[in-house]
């Protein structure tokens, strides 16, 4: 399966040149760009591992791309995403978040149903990635 989290997941994989243009857009808006990675893309896994701190003072998209490529080299089979934070009052949150690396095989999720009262069902999604490697696979 293909996980479609992120701003551009329905498009063909972005080239480095395209990534650079998006990063430039973010820097032009004064957003702080950061890089995160994980092996568990569960839709409610909010906190992916940080690849360093958000790059608050960086002005050159090439520098961000260098960091992305370092992260890719270290975790070629992880999901890697680029986010951009806007510190302006009234936002103070992410303004964009897009995937720049995926594992060669995306195992996806299993849906578990627990039948409860009446016809009600409690749903739980399990990441297949975590089922096969349950402990600390981020390390």
């Amino acid at each position: 399966m293909r996980i479609t989290q992120g701003t551009f997941s329905f498009l063909p994989e972005l080239t480095d040149e395209q990534i650079k243009k998006q990063v430039k857009y973010c820097l032009d808006q004064n957003y702080a760009v950061n890089i995160e990675y994980t092996d568990d893309p569960h839709p409610r896994n909010t906190y992916w591992e940080m690849w360093g701190l958000p790059m608050f003072d960086l002005k050159d998209p090439a520098g961000v791309l260098m960091e992305i490529n370092e992260c890719r080299k270290t975790y070629p089979n992880h999901y890697i995403r680029v986010g951009a934070f806007d510190s302006e009052r009234g936002t103070e949150s992410l303004r964009i978040s897009f995937i720049v690396n995926r594992p060669s095989h995306e195992p996806g999720f299993r849906l578990e149903r627990t039948e409860t009262d009446g016809r009600c069902i409690r749903y739980t999604a399990h990441s297949y990635a975590r089922l096969s490697e349950p402990r600390g696979a981020d390390k």
Binding site: M1, Q22, Y25, P43, T46, F109, L111, R119, Y123, A125
Partner: protein
């Protein structure tokens, strides 16, 4: 200037002009804590505009048709609303903008019902006026702070959904009436799996013989959860909990919560108090609250009489809804571009500067209330994506009902076409392309690697709704969006 009369004359039994009763004060300087309204008034022929404005001030605050001595037991000067300015409406012969200030103590804290019972109460049936329209309202920060505001708000909604950087996508399940629960859930599943973030009950889907509410909720949540694991994204279906009584609405909302829904929905016709109750419930239960504006067209559309939708937008943000239908500009429903821009600003900005060209008559500080997400729904399709992004921006839900479900290759393909068109346009915008003018080519280029988008563009290429708008700002030449 009104004649100044002594208190003993003022309170003689009988009927006085409203101006003489103290409701017309042209020298009045509104206080920071005053609530200010601007009404469009059309006096009956022969009625002086200043007197008509004073009458509106009187009838929407303390006055009755005759003098009452019991006024003298109160600090009545304070409680009288004060008409302080009357301007002729540009390009109109018999209409005037009347500015009226109300003291903060006229209103119960945090109650839309109380505020509106004065401001749009008896006064709207007052005989001395042919027509009356509430155009805009400045809510003082002191009063604003007594309202909860949106239960979740745009920022928290995006964080909960983990969706950033683009408008959200939705679709209303069609046909709106007649599907069984099982068939209804099929539409939800296909649309969400295809790439939409949300699907939606229509305003009149509650609990009818063809599909009772529990059945709908159960099948829809099966569909939502299946789509989540098929995409790895958080998805939602606006479960409409509108019902005959608050007890029924709470019961339905609780059931939606127990099934794990991230969002519930109500209709504007449930009334202001019910809306505030549901907003309070939503804040207490981590729920996003969607509001369908069913019924508003009966009083917002005509310029001469009623309430401008920008005012309804303000009240609904204060009342605490997270989503509200607010116009598409290019779709099938009423929506002049500048008027819609004004409404979107009211919902999304932290501070609105006065902007007469967009119908905003006052500076408005939102006092840190959350932002409400506008929803664009009604006759829009993938081929208009460049215009939608241009007119409506990023913080908006674009809802393609027919534009998803009517796709020739099926619902999933329809959803994919919309999502690809949207992501393509955002990518192009961020890259600095002239996406408004190059929009059609950008979409055609993207369609080369996306058959569903090509089919959507081919099917709906010439569909536009170019009718003249009725609700337009008075301070600029009228313009309607051109496709």
């Amino acid at each position: 200037m009104p004649k100044v009369i002594s208190a003993s004359d003022r309170y003689k039994a009988g009927v006085l002009e409203y101006k003489q009763m103290g409701y017309w004060e042209p020298d009045y300087q509104p206080k920071d804590t005053d609530l200010i309204c601007v009404f469009r008034i059309t006096p009956q022929s022969g009625v002086d505009p200043d007197e008509a404005a004073a009458a509106v001030a009187g009838e929407s605050s303390t006055a009755t048709w005759t003098v009452v001595w019991t006024d003298r037991l109160t600090a009545c000067e304070l409680y009288r609303a004060k008409a302080y300015r009357v301007d002729p409406v540009p390009n109109s012969e018999d209409q005037y903008f009347a500015y009226i200030a109300y003291d903060l103590d006229l209103f119960e804290p945090g109650s839309i019902a109380n505020m509106t019972a004065s401001i749009i109460g008896n006064v709207f049936g007052f005989k001395a006026l042919k027509c009356l329209r509430l155009e805009d309202m400045r809510i003082p920060v002191a009063y604003m702070k007594t309202f909860q505001g949106p239960a979740s708000g745009i920022i928290v909604e995006r964080e909960r959904l983990e969706k950033y950087g683009r408008p959200l996508l939705g679709a209303t399940v069609k046909p709106k009436l007649g599907l069984s629960g099982r068939n209804y859930g099929r539409v939800v599943y296909e649309a969400l799996k295809g790439g939409l973030d949300f699907t939606k009950d229509d305003e009149n889907i509650n609990s009818q013989p063809f599909m009772h509410w529990r059945d709908r909720f159960l099948y829809c949540m099966e569909a939502v959860n299946r789509a989540q694991v098929m995409s790895g994204e958080v998805k939602g279906h606006y479960l409409n909990v509108t019902a005959a009584t608050m007890e029924d609405m709470y019961e339905r909302a609780e059931f939606a919560k127990s099934l794990g829904s991230v969002i519930v929905m109500i209709d504007l016709v449930v009334g202001y108090t019910a809306i505030q109750s549901m907003a309070k419930w939503a804040r207490g239960n981590d729920m996003i609250l969607h509001l369908h504006r069913a019924g508003h067209g009966t009083y917002t559309r005509q310029k001469s009489h009623g309430i401008s939708f920008r005012v309804i937008g303000k009240w609904m943000r204060m009342a605490g809804v997270d989503h509200i239908h607010a116009g598409t500009v290019v779709g099938k429903l009423e929506g002049d571009p500048r008027t819609v821009a004004g409404i979107y600003d009211v919902l999304r900005e932290t501070y609105n500067p006065k902007n007469l060209e967009h119908g905003i008559f006052f500076d408005q500080d939102w006092a840190s209330l959350n932002k409400t997400m506008p929803v664009a729904s009604g006759g829009i399709h993938a081929g208009q994506m460049h215009q939608l992004v241009h007119y409506l921006g990023e913080d908006v839900v674009l809802q393609f009902g027919g534009g998803t479900i009517g796709h020739p290759m099926g619902i999933e393909a329809g959803a994919t076409a919309n999502r690809v068109a949207l992501e393509t346009m955002i990518l192009a915008r961020n890259e600095g392309k002239d996406y408004i003018n190059e929009g059609p080519e950008i979409l055609q280029q993207a369609a080369k690697s996306c058959k569903p988008l090509q089919a959507a563009l081919d099917t709906w290429k010439d569909i536009t709704f170019n009718y003249e708008s009725t609700d337009t700002p008075d301070f600029v030449p009228v313009a309607t969006a051109v496709a």
